[in-house]
Amino acid sequence: MTTKLFGEPVQRREDPRLLTGQGRYLDDLGSGALAAAFVRSPHAHARIRDIDVSGALDVDGLVAIYTWEDLPPRVAEPLPLLIPHPALTHGRTAYPLARDTVRHVGEPVVMVVARDRYLAEDACALIRVDYEPLKPVVGVEEALVGAHRVHEDVPGNVGAHLVQEVPSARGRTAAEEIEAAPHSLSFRLDIERSASMPLEGRGVYARWDPDDRSLRVYSSTQTSTSVRMALAAKLGLPLPSVEVIAPDVGGGFGVKIVHPWPEEVLIPWAAMLLDREIKWTEDRREHFVSSAHERGQVQHVKVGFDDEGRVLGLDVTILHDHGAYTPYGIIVPIVTATQLLGPYKIGAYRVEFSSIYTNTVQVTPYRGAGRPQGVFCMERTMDRIAAYLGLDRTAVRAANFIQPEEFPYDQGMMFQDGRPLIYDSGNYPESLRMLKELIGWDSFEERRAAAAAEGRRIGIGIGCYVEGTGVGPYEGGHVQITSDGRVHVSTGLTSQGQGHETVFAQIAATELGVPIERVSVVTGDTRRFGYAVGTFASRAAVMSGNAIALACRKVREKALRIAADALEADPADLEIDDGIVHVAGTPTASIPLATVAVLANPLRYAFDEEARRATQFTGTAALDRPPVAEGQEPGLEGRDYYSPVRSTFASGMHAAIVETDPGTAEIKILRYAVVHDCGKLINPMIVEGQIHGGVAQGVGGALYERMVYDSHGQLLNASFMDFLMPYATEVPRIETAHLETPSPLNPLGIKGAGEAGVIPVPAVIASAIEDAEGIPITRMPISPSELHELRLRRPPG
């Protein structure tokens, strides 16, 4: 059978166009459009005294210059705070163009529109902005002191403060449990900033049609449907007059879920005003200083445990740096606080975070979205406990695992989707067993001794995580079979390289019994599907995958009903194979889906041979019934939505063997092993690819990537020359094994896989370096020079 494609490593359907230069990314569109460029703040914190554009007015090809004062009221308002939360008592968002104060280097101040980008930048360079520099606030600890404020009306620079407390089974608080525990430890951890850093930056291209007063906007976004709604509201247009399309997108990893960006509002606004097509393509420096970063946290940990290493009480205080603005609310620290618990059941838990303003680029989710920090915290804690008790690190973890028979397991907290943190399924002991076998955990001491005999220093590390995936509220799918037998699938969420055109086609082909070659998939185009949330939180496969499966089932049911009529059979006896409906066991009694599609749409007009068969004098319908039965619709199509009660929880465990050079402190990853459980796999090749990419980003975060701000709030490494992303030379070969614990929550039994690879990597590498060196590793990333420093500071003996 050719049509059961679910679970197969099907080659990607998007590849032929992307491999031949036929992809259509944002900057590939709109060849005749005007170009926009921005004057951005060179100061981390300053008041704008005056803007003098006169020097730019003679630039050849200049079309327009706009400052905040030129904007109409709705456009001029601060951008929306997308995810409010009661604990976010002092949420603040930016104006699309700075109004009177700039709060980070890179904040847009003036927009220039010109014939091309070169000329627009010429004009930008001639605009003089007079700034009165203010004291910048850099670093969470300095911010908390509160000597200077990022926002005048936010005392202490604290945007949000949240405490969550889960008592132990015997009703004690974390503090009480830690106090009463046989052993306790406390320590501090530091995680630096990194960023999504897709190779394609942001970009917007707008076309206003003055004749029918409609707006079409292309944006390199992770959520075209919500950009559309935001634009309709901001620009005062009826929703049906606005369409937003995410074309091919060159990576997102979280940063492109933020919306509407200043540029996303300003470009369409100017396109309408000037009645010209306008495009803005972000350059790399702009991406560094004006999009978003993530990760940066300071964590203070207190833990109480028993002789087996079981955690009796855990108390974590997190200082989270959210930069200058909070458009995405406090999702990142909430995710850290809740996902920190991982695969463990711990006694009592108290977590407190303060989300703090600094004069730096705003912080919004980057792949992992707060989880790498939480996992770093919990896994460093597990290693500390093991070291303290002299136990094997995997034994301490195993002692704390939730057991397979304990699912669904309620962690007693509220998750990032506002729903209870209840794990749906998993098998953590099995995962650990597989990982130990894959990496050779139990025979590592021999390997260490052999390396030591050669004068080499190696260490092994481990990290475990649980990832809430597939968060709601919903996604939808639309499936249409046309009279040529083709299947057209659409869903509203967007794609940035995850292979959705392939995996959704696999689902549709499997559900409908058609060859995958006949299925085409469109994502992120509001002309095709208007209701959607977006692509983030490893949710696309779970949400749209299930929605498309449900829509296919509706279409299948309809197809079988119509075919049963035509074949004078019982629908229950029908099967679909290779796009042909036939009576089970009687292949000759059959009708192609193409013909069923014809029959599904009674016609008056014949425009081709296929259509002739559905016209009123040739149809097969009974004359005592209306051509379209009551409660039915013409056409062979269906739409359905998937809206889960709560998230699914994928999980995994990684282990690494690293070598540290005794002389240079160079750190090399010798082996990297992954055991991954995302429920049922739709396409194992694509899931592996997601894991590889995630691990590579994790390696970047563990060893190389950081945003280096000086005390003036200048980002010192805002280029690929200085912000070190891993090349092929830095990423180890990744060995993977899959465990499939289906989710009981959705029809396909799947969990998300998009972020998994990145989550535990910094924890794993820290664990391995610590093992190699015997020095506590408390900061990420760690460079050779930092390791060298740690060695120098190691107490003698």
């Binding site: 080659q11 990607r12 998007e14 590849d15 032929p16 992307l18 491999l19 031949t20 230069g21 036929q22 992809g23 259509r24 990314y25 900057d27 590939d28 060849s31 050849d60 091309d116 070169y118 850093m197 897709p198 190779l199 394609e200 091919d248 997108v249 060159g250 990576g251 990893f253 350059d283 790399r284 940035q496 390289g497 995850q498 292979g499 090749m685 694509i686 592996e688 690819g689 894991i691 590889h692 990419g693 995630g694 691990v695 590579a696 980003q697 280029s719 690929f720 020359m721 992303m725 090349y727 092929a728 030379t729 990423v731 070969r733 990744i734 690879g757």
Partner: protein, 162 residues
Amino acid sequence: MPERTHDITLTVNGVVRHATVPARRLLSDCLRHDLGLTGTHVGCEHGVCGCCTVLLDGEPVRSCLTFAVTVSGHEITTVEGLAGPGGRMSPVQRAFAECHGLQCGFCTPGFLCTVTALLRENPAPTDAEVVEGLSGNLCRCTGYQNIVKSVHRAAELIAEES
């Protein structure tokens, strides 16, 4: 005052093309915006990511670090020119598809040009030579493992088909 422009002639993917460009026009912009060959991508415009790699007289170069006026009279191959006659994808392109060597596809044209030149120089590279050969191109999606696999597979395909 309008900028001074220069008439240039390039052979791109075997076709003679003319353009009128200012001296500061980057080759990447000339290919993408003047000649409409948008397959060549731009990821940094400062010579680090390798997305903009094209073949200049057969050698890989960063088109974002090259002024279009400096290559007048030369031959350029972009991703659009890698496929064989009749549009059949080249062994390198097919290997990337087979081995899942791309995700978002933004870095891919640069990798394809780099690898095409690499395998021409060294038809049977070792693992270390492949990694070394790729070490000037960034990819944020794939973790490189499947790209390395694709290069080996391409080498096999080229050997089989020659």
